[in-house]
C-alpha cells in the first residue's frame, strides 16, 4: 500500500510537470496554429540558463527563477513570435513543422555551444525537505510542482475566459483577420501566447531537471510526453490536456512498479509516452478530406534525360577518381554521403513530390540495415530482401496513419521512429543495446566487392540508379498522380482514386528506398548498430532535406553530402560544434518558404548563367566547336519557364 501511494505521488509529480509543459504547447497552438516541436528544447535551454544563474553565478534561487521565467523566457518568446513564427499559422503544416524543428536544432546548438558538456547538477527546490503521507513521503519539490500545475491551470483558465486579451487569444485562432477588423491586434496576441508558452516550457524544464538531469537531449525529447497529453486535448482543450498529462504521469510511474520488467517490457517502458502519442494521434477523429483553394507549388524543373545522364556520368567518374585517391577513412565518408543521398531520395518521393512529412525515414533505413546484417547474405538477393522488408514495414506504418496528414502524420511517424529505436533496434535479437552486428560487403555473381573504393563506386551507382528511378516515376503517370494527390486529395478521390491505398504504396516504395540506403551503409561499414539510427537524427534528416531541396534529385544529393559533412565538420572544429547546428537551423528557417531549397536557387543561378553569361561568352567566342548540348539547354530552360 505504501508503495502504491509512493508511485501515485511520483506519478502526480511527473504528470504535473508534463501538464505545465503541455498547457504551454496548447496555448501557443490554439492561439497561433503553430505546433512548437521545439517546446521541450526551449525548456532545456531555459533550464541551462537557470543553472547558469543559480549555480554558476550563485544568484539566490528565487531571483534566478524569476529572471528566467519572467525575463529571459518571455524575451525568447517575443523574439520567436516576431521573427521566426510570423505568418507561420497560415503556412502549410510542413513549413511550420520544419521551422519549429529548426528551432529545436538551434536550441541544442546554442546549449552545446554555450554550456559545453560537463557534469552539472541542479538540486531540487528545498532539497531534503519531505512530508510524510501515510507511510510514504513526498518531497517539497514534488509538492511545489503539483501546486505549480494547479496555479498554471487556474491562471490559464482565468486568462482565457475572464480577461479581454484571453478572449482575443481564443478568437485569434479562428480568424485573425476578423479579430483585426474588430480592433484586436493578432500580432500582440500571438506574441503574448509565445511569451507565456516559452515561460511554461521553462518552468516545466526547471521542475523536471532535478529528476531527469541537465542533459541536452533528455529534456528536449521529454516533450514527447507533452505532445501526447496535448494531442489528447486535440491541441485546444486545456482540461483534457491536464487529464492526459496526469494519466501519462501515473502510467509511467505505475508501469515499472507493477509490471515485471525484463527484456522486452523494460524497453517498452522507455517508449510508453511515444506509444501513448501514437495511439492518441491514430485514434483521434480526423478532419474530413480538405477542400480548399487551388494551390500549386513551383516545382524544381525536371532535367532532360540527356542532362541526367551527363550528371550521373560525371558523379560516377568523380567518385571513381576519388576512390583511387582518398584514404580509407575519407572513403567511408563519401560512402556515407551516398547512403544518406539514397535516404534523401526516398524523401524526395514522399515529401517533395507526395507532400507527406515522415520523420521515420531513418527508422526504415535501420530496418534495411538490420535485415541485411541479420540475413548474412551479402548478395543482390539479400539486398533485395532487405529492401522488401523495409517496404513492408513502411506499408505497415502507413496503414494505421492512413487518414493522418501534416502535423499529425509527422508526430505519428516521430513516435514510430522512437519506438523502433528503443524497442526494436536496441533489443537483444536486433542490434542490442550499444551493440554492433557484422555486415558483409556486397558480392556480384560470386565476386565480393571487398575494397572500400570499389564499394563506394558501387554505392554511387545505386544512388544514380535510384535517382533515375525517381525521375522516371516523376515523369510518368505515377508522378502526375503524386502531384495531383498532393494538390488535392479530395479531387483525386472524387475522380475514382483510392487515395489511401495509393499512399500505402507510396510509403512502401519510399521506405524500401530508405532501406536500400541503410543496407548499403551496413555493407560499407561492415558493422552496424542502433547508434547509427538514433531517431533524433530523423529531425536533422528532415532539415537537411528541406534546406538542400526536397523537391529535386539534386537536392537529395546535396542533402546527403551536407548531412555527412555536419559531424565531420563538428569533429574537426569541436570548439564551434554547436554553431553548425545553429547555422543549419537558420538556413532552414530562412528557406522554409522556398519549397525547392538550395537546389532551387542553384537551378535559378544556372538559368541566369545560361540566359546572361552564356550568350556573352558565345558572342566573344566567334565559333564554339561541337555545341552538342545546345538543344539540351533549350529544353531545360523551357522546363524552367514552364514551372513558373
Amino acid at each position: 500500500m505504501s508503495s502504491f501511494i509512493a508511485y501515485t505521488l511520483f506519478g502526480l509529480f511527473s504528470g504535473a510537470a508534463y501538464a505545465i509543459a503541455a498547457s504551454g504547447l496548447v496555448l501557443t497552438y490554439s492561439t497561433t496554429r503553430v505546433f512548437n516541436i521545439a517546446h521541450g528544447a526551449l525548456g532545456m535551454v531555459l533550464s541551462f540558463v537557470f543553472w547558469d544563474f543559480s549555480v554558476r553565478q550563485g544568484m539566490p534561487t528565487l531571483l534566478a527563477l524569476a529572471l528566467v521565467l519572467l525575463v529571459v523566457a518571455p524575451a525568447i518568446g517575443w523574439f520567436i513570435a516576431r521573427f521566426v513564427a510570423r505568418d507561420l499559422g497560415d503556412a502549410p503544416a510542413s513549413v511550420s513543422l520544419v521551422v519549429t524543428v529548426a528551432l529545436l536544432v538551434m536550441c541544442i546548438g546554442v546549449a552545446t555551444q554555450v554550456w559545453p558538456q560537463e557534469s552539472r547538477t541542479i538540486l531540487p527546490f528545498f532539497a531534503g525537505r519531505t512530508f510524510g503521507i501515510g507511510s510514504a513521503t513526498i518531497t517539497a519539490h514534488q509538492v511545489i510542482t503539483i501546486l505549480a500545475s494547479v496555479v498554471v491551470a487556474t491562471g490559464l483558465y482565468v486568462l482565457l475566459t475572464r480577461t479581454r486579451i484571453g478572449t482575443a487569444m481564443r478568437a485569434s485562432v479562428d480568424n485573425p483577420e476578423l479579430l483585426r477588423l474588430f480592433g484586436g491586434k493578432p500580432e500582440q496576441v500571438a506574441a503574448l501566447a509565445w511569451m507565456i508558452g516559452v515561460s511554461l516550457a521553462g518552468l516545466a524544464g526547471i521542475l523536471l531537471v532535478s529528476t531527469v538531469g541537465l542533459d541536452y537531449y533528455a529534456l528536449t525529447l521529454l516533450v514527447i510526453n507533452a505532445y501526447a497529453a496535448a494531442m489528447l486535448g486535440r491541441l485546444t482543450n486545456l482540461p483534457l490536456t491536464f487529464l492526459g498529462a496526469m494519466g501519462l504521469g501515473l502510467l509511467t510511474s505505475y508501469f515499472p512498479g507493477y509490471v515485471h520488467l525484463d527484456g522486452f517490457l523494460a524497453q517498452v517502458q522507455t517508449v510508453l509516452p511515444a506509444l501513448f502519442l501514437f495511439a492518441v494521434v491514430v485514434a483521434l477523429p480526423q478532419a474530413q478530406l480538405r477542400i480548399g483553394q487551388v494551390k500549386g507549388i513551383v516545382s524544381a524543373p525536371l532535367p532532360s534525360p540527356r542532362r541526367t545522364m551527363g550528371w550521373s556520368a560525371a558523379l560516377l567518374l568523380l567518385v571513381a577518381l576519388l576512390a583511387g585517391a582518398l584514404s580509407e577513412a575519407n572513403l567511408l565518408v563519401v560512402g556515407r554521403a551516398a547512403a544518406f543521398g539514397i535516404v534523401m531520395l526516398s524523401m524526395v518521393l514522399l515529401t517533395g513530390y507526395g507532400g507527406h512529412i515522415s520523420l521515420a525515414q531513418l527508422a526504415f533505413a535501420g530496418v534495411g540495415a538490420l535485415t541485411y546484417a541479420k540475413l548474412g547474405e551479402p548478395t543482390l538477393a539479400g539486398l533485395a530482401v532487405s529492401v522488401l522488408v523495409s517496404a513492408a514495414v513502411g506499408a505497415l506504418v502507413a496503414l494505421p496513419v492512413l487518414r493522418l496528414t501534416g502535423l499529425y502524420l509527422a508526430l505519428a511517424t516521430l513516435a514510430f521512429a522512437s519506438i523502433m529505436d528503443k524497442v526494436v533496434f536496441q533489443a537483444d535479437w536486433a542490434f542490442g543495446f550499444n551493440g554492433l552486428l557484422p555486415a558483409g560487403r556486397l558480392s556480384f555473381l560470386g565476386h565480393s566487392v571487398s575494397s572500400t573504393g570499389a564499394y563506394v563506386v558501387v554505392m554511387t551507382l545505386f544512388l544514380v540508379l535510384v535517382a533515375w528511378a525517381v525521375l522516371v516515376l516523376r515523369r510518368g503517370v505515377v508522378g502526375r498522380l503524386l502531384i495531383a494527390t498532393r494538390d488535392s486529395a479530395a479531387a483525386c478521390g472524387t475522380l475514382g482514386l483510392d487515395v489511401r491505398w495509393f499512399r500505402v504504396g507510396l510509403f512502401a516504395l519510399s521506405a524500401g528506398m530508405a532501406g536500400l540506403g541503410g543496407a548499403l551503409y551496413a555493407g560499407l561499414r561492415q558493422n552496424i548498430g542502433s547508434g547509427d539510427f538514433i531517431y533524433f537524427n530523423s529531425l536533422l534528416l528532415l532539415l537537411f532535406a528541406v534546406v538542400a531541396g526536397v523537391t529535386s534529385v539534386s537536392g537529395a544529393v546535396l542533402g546527403g553530402i551536407g548531412l555527412t559533412a555536419l559531424p565531420e565538420l563538428q569533429s574537426s572544429y569541436p570548439s564551434v560544434a554547436g554553431m553548425f547546428f545553429v547555422a543549419i537551423a537558420v538556413f532552414a528557417i530562412l528557406l522554409a518558404k522556398e519549397p525547392n531549397g538550395i537546389a532551387g536557387h542553384l537551378f535559378r543561378l544556372g538559368r541566369w548563367a545560361q540566359d546572361r553569361v552564356a550568350p556573352r561568352i558565345r558572342a566573344n567566342l566567334p565559333r564554339l566547336p561541337g555545341a552538342g548540348g545546345e538543344d539540351d539547354l533549350a529544353s531545360e530552360s523551357e522546363g524552367v519557364a514552364h514551372a513558373h
Partner: protein, 293 residues
C-alpha cells in the same frame, strides 16, 4: 412500374456539433435531365454534394445511386460507379497544367494497367468540348476562375460519369460564356447523363434546368419546374426574408437590394448569433463572381 431515378437522396441529416447543415433533405436527380439545387448561402447545398459524393458522412439518411444504396461506399468507388463532381472552392491540381489535370483523371480511370501503359483518351477533345483548349499548357493555378471551373468539368468528364454534380459551375464566367455553358449542359444531358447543379445565376438555372429543388436551412422547402418555383411563396420567403411573401409576390427572383443590418461580431459573440449575422450579411445571394462565399 416506374424505374427509380438515377440519384435518390433520402431523408439525409448532417449535423456539425450543434449546427444542422442538412435537415431531413430528400430529393432526386434523373438521367438525361438537368436538376437544379438552389437556396441561399449556408442552406446546405455543398454539404449535400459532399454527402452524395462521399466526402461527408451523413448523420442519418440514405443515398441511392443507380438503384443501389451507396451511403457507406467510399468516395473513390462512388466515382467509379459514375458520380463525378466539381467543387465550389476549386480543387484543380494547381501545380499541373490544364491538360495534365485531365490526363490525371484519365489515368485514374484507366486503373493500375493505365499506370503501366498510359491509356489513350482524347484529352484535347475534352478541353475543346468545354471550350478551354487554348489553356491546355498553362498551369492550373494561373488560369482564371471561370477556366478552372470548366477544367474541373473536363476532368470530371474524362471519367465518363453517369451523374455530374456541378457546384456553382458558372461563377467567374461572363454572359456569353454562360450562354455557351448552358448549351453544353443541355448537350451533356442529351447524352443521357444526369446533372445536379448548385448555381446562383438564376437566368442560367431557369433556362437550363428541368427541375429545381430549393434548400433553406438544410430543408427542402420546394420542388418543381422553374415556373412553379418562381411563384412559390415559401421560396420567396427563403430568398427575400419576408415573413409574409404572399402579399408581394415577385416573379423574377432578381437580386434585391437588402439593407442587411450587420450586427457587430465581437469575438465573444456566441456562435449562434455570429451565424445569424453571417446569414444576414449574405442575403444578397445573387451573383458572387469569385465564388468565395
Amino acid at each position: 412500374m416506374r424505374t427509380e431515378p438515377l440519384l435518390v437522396v433520402d431523408d439525409v441529416v448532417v449535423r456539425f456539433g450543434g449546427v444542422t447543415a442538412v435537415d431531413h433533405a430528400s430529393f432526386v436527380a434523373r438521367s438525361g435531365r438537368v436538376t437544379g439545387l438552389i437556396g441561399p448561402n449556408g442552406a446546405g447545398k455543398t454539404t449535400c454534394f459532399n454527402v452524395i459524393s462521399g466526402l461527408q458522412k451523413p448523420t442519418s439518411g440514405r443515398v441511392r445511386f443507380g438503384g443501389r444504396t451507396i451511403s457507406h461506399t467510399p468516395v473513390h468507388r462512388r466515382a467509379r460507379r459514375g458520380i463525378g463532381r466539381t467543387f465550389q472552392r476549386l480543387e484543380a491540381f494547381g501545380s499541373l497544367t490544364v491538360g495534365d489535370n485531365v490526363r490525371v483523371a484519365r489515368d485514374i480511370r484507366a486503373g493500375l494497367l493505365g499506370a503501366v501503359r498510359p491509356s489513350r483518351g482524347d484529352v484535347g477533345g475534352l478541353l475543346e468540348r468545354v471550350g478551354i483548349a487554348a489553356y491546355a499548357d498553362e498551369r492550373a493555378d494561373s488560369v482564371p476562375t471561370g477556366v478552372a471551373r470548366l477544367l474541373e468539368l473536363a476532368r470530371c468528364l474524362a471519367g465518363d460519369p453517369k451523374l455530374l454534380l456541378l457546384d456553382e459551375p458558372s461563377s467567374g464566367q461572363d454572359e456569353t460564356e454562360t450562354e455557351a455553358f448552358g448549351v453544353l449542359l443541355r448537350d451533356l444531358a442529351a447524352e443521357g447523363r444526369g446533372i445536379l447543379m448548385v448555381e446562383h445565376d438564376m437566368d442560367l438555372v431557369m433556362s437550363v434546368c428541368d427541375e429545381l429543388h430549393v434548400l433553406d436551412f438544410g430543408e427542402v422547402i420546394a420542388t418543381g419546374t422553374p415556373a412553379e418555383i418562381r411563384s412559390d411563396p415559401a421560396v420567396q420567403r427563403a430568398y427575400l426574408g419576408y415573413s409574409d411573401a404572399g402579399s408581394e409576390t415577385r416573379t423574377d427572383l432578381q437580386p434585391v437590394e437588402t439593407t442587411a443590418v450587420i450586427p457587430a461580431v465581437t469575438p465573444s459573440t456566441p456562435r449562434n448569433s455570429a451565424e445569424g449575422a453571417l446569414r444576414a450579411m449574405s442575403t444578397d445571394f445573387h451573383g458572387d463572381p469569385g465564388g468565395t462565399s
